[in-house]
């Protein structure tokens, strides 16, 4: 297993939006989904997950409702809203642009400068 990386500041919200965009999830499910997609390479503070979820819901990007979990227990499921979908799109674009720019800078060689 690769060594886990610490999450960059401000990216947790984006990852949560992405995770729930693939289908409704409860809090623990969000954690699992992110770990699964990232192949366990990201370290997520479990405690910080919920404040982020509450914040996103407060801002209207996601909504929640109570449902039944896989093992027949009551759990709160989060779902992406239309506004959240747009938000995810713009955030992702921003992130990609930023990543390109940073990568470009890091790739630069003495001749290019």
């Amino acid at each position: 297993m690769d060594k886990q990386m610490e999450l960059l500041q401000g990216t947790l919200d984006m990852l949560i939006l992405k995770a729930v965009s693939l289908g409704p999830l409860h809090g623990y499910g969000v954690l699992l989904r992110i770990q699964q997609i990232s192949k366990d390479r990201l370290e997520i503070q479990q405690g910080s997950l919920y404040p982020a979820l509450y914040r996103l819901e407060h801002q209207g990007w996601i909504t929640s409702e109570w449902g039944e979990s896989e093992n027949k227990r009551k759990a709160k499921y989060y779902r992406l809203t239309a506004a959240g979908k747009r938000k995810l799109q713009t955030e992702a674009e921003k992130w990609n642009r930023m990543a390109d720019v940073i990568a470009g800078i890091l790739r630069s060689t003495p001749e290019e400068v």
């Binding site: 409860h26 809090g27 623990y28 954690l31 503070q45 479990q46 405690g47 910080s48 919920y50 404040p51 982020a52 509450y54 914040r55 819901e57 407060h58 801002q59 209207g60 979990s69 093992n71 227990r73 009551k74 759990a75 709160k76 506004a83």
Partner: protein
């Protein structure tokens, strides 16, 4: 939409707090348990799995707290926390809380009380339908101001009103009304008086007032003169006179001896369109001739007494209304009504531009507004200063307290409270104190208003006719001053904690050293307080002394022994020569009353509010400026001047012989003589009353000493006096009898009344009053202002005294140890006293000088209210400074005594 979702989630979080908490619990528990399950699934023992799940999750409480934060719950939560904490700290120091709350209550209460009156008189819209659509036409306030405005357009005659009503294009309807004064009303036989108002039949309709009971007038009423003897009574009168009996509708009563029927009761909130004049009943305009027998104003272009209020048509502006009304009035005065106008009015129209005032009328009209606006604003200014002194006091208290709280605050800072949080907490405390003070203040204001009204009630009944209720404006104002007061007195002490170094403070232990900031800031506060105190007291002194000067002013005659009676002969049914005969008979009968030295009569009387003036020519020559040809005048009976006690400085007075031979003679006053003749002798010159219907010429036979006959304050006008029988004056048919008593005039009241009744029991006697009372009535507003300002001055003095005492006591307390050491080392007591009061003396000097300077600068704001003294009146200045100095001294006595009695052993052991 995004904002809405946030508000919704915040509201849900705040209002359904319990539910959110339990859901949060369930959610986090589910997470940990699910995680543990998974661990169990991967072979970890159950107990161990639970433990690891909890550890991996981290602090559950912290996560919850962050969740709450994310929902904005904490902000509200912490405000409640602050409030609870603040109230608890306040409860823990009841002494501080009581003094602070009471101090603020006095300040806020005074402000709320004065503002309530200002609101009622100056700000509040009439309680009618869409008051913003109303405009007033003309300006009744100008009527007595002599020679301003075009004739008959400040108040209107009925024919001119009719022209405006029928020919304007800007009003959806326009009403006219006029004061009927006291009318005699007979219900079931007995006769009493009530205040009546003559109104056009569209009055209630225009204002949008519907009857509480029965009906109001409709346009069907009062189509023709005398046709509809009906009246609407006010709610107050209905309650007072008829005990709210519903069967009052249809009741027959007699008004001024003419039969009327009550058709309706007005709603309680409606007190009429003139703020401060609260009529008991309304009568259709068309009944005017029946109510005032002998006078028909409905067809007279020359009798103007109507106030006009119009309701604008939709989307018509006040400017458009003004243009239109002026065009209509101009047409009426120059064409339609011109032929019926008196020649002096016609002459005036020729020489002047017609300018009718048209102004927004949502607040209705008001005599009180004109009379009391300036005094009320002055009083509001004074109570604002009272509040400021109160705030300084509380700031001082807080400052002293904050020293004691340094430990607590330092501890809280070390425990991780942010400085912003600390300031917020302290401000919450200040706001709580302010609102407690405000609530108590409103109670005080409620009680104080009753006193205020009774103070203002010495003269007529007007001031009790205001509706002085609480409304949103008064409440908003009070809340506003509470908040600003809290910021003023709370912010400075609170901000001082921002720079607190917790480590240093905690190391000090309980000692608490006198910090430089407290010292300097405290001293500035003390000086400011002294300055404010001097400012308020000096203002009060100026007003009280002005009142005294007004009351003692030399009127030119002795008011102490004069009694005045006004008899309306026209209303009593007398006409023509019968009026003259009855006047003569009354003069004879009154002169025969025991205790009467002499008696005379005149048309205008003294301090009666009646005034007249005419255009004149001296020896047939007109001056270049028409204004110069106007003189005040009066018609007087025989021996008028000797009866009243006015010295004749040249020539002679008008005597019975002049009356016997119907001599055309006149007496003028000194101002008249000076104005028209300068140093020349006016005796023998001729005055012609030029523009009356019957021009007449009088020969000047005497010059009388100048007298103040209608106002103590105003400059004496030039005036001529002609014999009462002259045909050139409009015969008003109501005469004032001036009775010179041998002793106290009040003692003659009943015998004079009886004497008049013995002549004819049906004579309409309007008023019998001592001249001194009539003079005093004109000084009511001055009196109220002087009394209130003296009261506020006393209040300020008390507050300053309490504040200074607090500061001094604190200073001595914080220096107890030092004083103890000094005494132990043998310092003389006098030196100690000086040490304690030295700073106070400096502050007294600085504050005194600033206060007097500010007062002198401020007096030009109310110069018009001063009388007989200069703005820098040394007596007011000196007594204000002395009073504050005395207050300082009184405040210093106890702390100084405490200082010199410090027992060095105790002081040192105290460490």
């Amino acid at each position: 939409m995004k904002l809405w979702s946030r508000v919704r989630s915040w509201l849900r979080a705040v209002t359904r707090r319990g539910r959110m908490e339990s859901e949060m619990d369930a959610e986090l528990r589910f997470h940990i348990e699910a995680f543990a399950e998974d661990l169990v699934g991967s072979g970890v023992p159950r107990e161990e799995a639970r433990r690891r799940a909890r550890i991996e999750f981290g602090g559950v409480e912290r996560a919850k707290e962050e969740c709450r934060e994310a929902r904005g719950v904490n902000f509200v939560q912490s405000i409640f926390q602050d409030l609870r904490f603040g109230l608890r700290t306040l409860r823990k120091s009841p002494g501080f809380t009581a003094v602070a709350v009471l101090t603020l209550a006095l300040g806020i209460g005074a402000n709320a009380a004065i503002f309530t009156v200002i609101n009622a008189v100056m700000l509040r819209a009439l309680p009618v339908k869409h008051p913003e659509e109303l405009v007033t036409v003309g300006n009744p306030a100008k009527v007595h101001s002599w020679g301003t405005g075009t004739p008959r357009t400040d108040v209107f005659s009925y024919p001119l009103y009719r022209e405006v009503r029928d020919n304007n294009q800007v009003f959806s309807s326009v009403l006219a009304s006029s004061n009927l004064g006291d009318v005699r009303i007979a219900v079931d036989g007995g006769s009493e008086t009530a205040r009546g108002r003559l109104v056009t039949e569209n009055y209630f309709e225009t204002l949008g007032i519907e009857a509480l009971l029965g009906r109001t007038f409709t346009t069907g009423d009062g189509r023709t003169p005398g046709s509809d003897p009906v009246l609407v009574i006010s709610y107050g009168y209905w309650q007072r006179r008829f005990s709210g009996d519903a069967s009052v509708i249809g009741r027959k009563v007699r008004l001024n001896n003419y039969p009327f029927t009550i058709i309706g009761v007005a709603p309680p909130r409606f007190l009429g369109e003139v703020v401060g004049d609260r009529p008991d009943l309304w009568v259709p305009m068309m009944m005017q001739p029946q109510l005032m027998p002998g006078r028909n104003f409905l067809e007279s272009v020359n009798d103007a007494a109507l106030l006009i209020i119009g309701r604008l048509k939709p989307s018509v502006t006040v400017d458009q209304a003004r243009t239109n009304v002026n065009a209509v009035v101009k047409e009426a005065l120059t064409v339609t009504l011109n032929g019926r106008m008196s020649s002096d009015d016609r002459g005036a129209i020729g020489g002047m531009k017609i300018a009718v005032e048209v102004s927004p009328g949502s607040r209705g009209l008001s005599r009180l507004r004109q009379q009391f606006s300036a005094p009320l604003l002055l009083l509001q200014g004074m109570v604002a200063l009272v509040l400021l002194v109160a705030c300084v006091n509380v700031a001082n208290l807080l400052l002293a307290r904050s020293e004691a709280r340094r430990q607590e605050i330092a501890l809280r800072l070390t425990m991780g409270a942010g400085p912003g949080r600390i300031v917020r907490q302290l401000l919450t405390e200040s706001v709580s104190v302010a609102f407690l003070g405000g609530a108590l203040g409103l109670l005080l204001a409620h009680w104080g208003l009753a006193v205020l009204v009774s103070l203002a009630n010495t003269g007529d009944r007007t001031s009790s006719s205001l509706s002085l209720g609480l409304d949103w404006r008064v409440l908003g104002f009070s809340a506003g001053i509470c908040l600003s007061a809290a910021v003023v007195f709370g912010l400075a002490p609170a901000l001082r904690f921002l720079h607190l170094k917790p480590g240093v403070v905690l190391k000090e232990g309980g000692r608490g050293t006198e910090s430089g900031v407290k010292g300097k800031f405290g001293r500035v506060l003390m000086s400011a307080q002294i300055a404010l105190g001097v400012l308020v007291l000096m203002t009060a002194g100026l007003l009280v002394r002005s009142l005294h000067n007004l009351q003692e002013a030399d009127l030119g005659y002795s008011r102490e022994q004069l009694l005045l009676a006004r008899v309306d002969l026209l209303e009593s049914g007398y006409r023509g020569a019968a009026i003259q005969n009855m006047t003569r008979e009354l003069l004879g009968r009154l002169a025969a009353v025991p205790g009467v030295r002499s008696v005379t009569c005149s048309s205008n009387g003294l301090f009666s509010g009646d005034e007249s003036s005419d255009l004149i020519r001296i020896d047939g020559a007109a001056s270049t400026n028409q204004q110069d040809d106007v003189t005040a005048d009066d018609e007087v009976g025989p021996n008028y001047f000797s009866t009243i006690g006015v010295p004749i400085v040249l020539g002679r007075e008008i005597t019975s012989e002049d009356f016997a031979r119907a001599a055309q003679v006149a007496v003028v006053n000194e101002t008249f003589a000076r104005f028209y003749f300068g140093a020349r002798n006016p005796i023998g010159h001729k005055i012609t009353i030029q523009d009356s219907e019957h021009p007449e010429t009088f020969e000047i036979v005497g010059v009388a000493h100048d007298v103040h006959d209608h106002s103590v304050r105003d400059a004496v006008r030039r005036r001529m006096y002609a014999p009462l029988t002259s045909a050139s004056f409009d015969d008003l048919g109501a005469y004032n009898f001036e009775i010179h008593a041998v002793g106290n005039p009040e003692a003659l009241l009943n015998s004079v009344r009886t004497a008049i009744r013995n002549v004819n029991p049906d004579l309409a006697v309007d008023n019998i009053k001592a001249a001194a009372d009539l003079v005093a009535d004109t000084l009511t507003s001055q009196e109220v202002v002087a009394e209130l300002s003296a009261f506020f001055g006393g209040l300020v003095l008390l507050l300053v005294c309490v504040g200074l005492y607090g500061s001094m006591a604190y200073k001595v307390a914080s220096r107890t140890r030092e004083i103890g050491v000094r005494i132990a080392l043998g310092a003389p007591r006098e030196g100690l006293i000086w040490m304690v009061i030295r700073e106070a003396c400096l502050e007294l000097a600085i504050g005194g000088v600033v206060g007097i300077g500010a007062a002198v600068a401020a007096t030009h704001l109310f110069k018009a209210m001063l009388f007989g003294l200069s703005e820098a009146d040394p007596l007011s200045m000196g007594s204000a400074a002395l009073a504050v100095a005395a207050a300082c001294l009184a405040a210093a006595v106890v702390p100084v005594r405490r200082a010199i009695r410090v027992d060095p052993m105790v002081a040192l052991r105290y460490e």
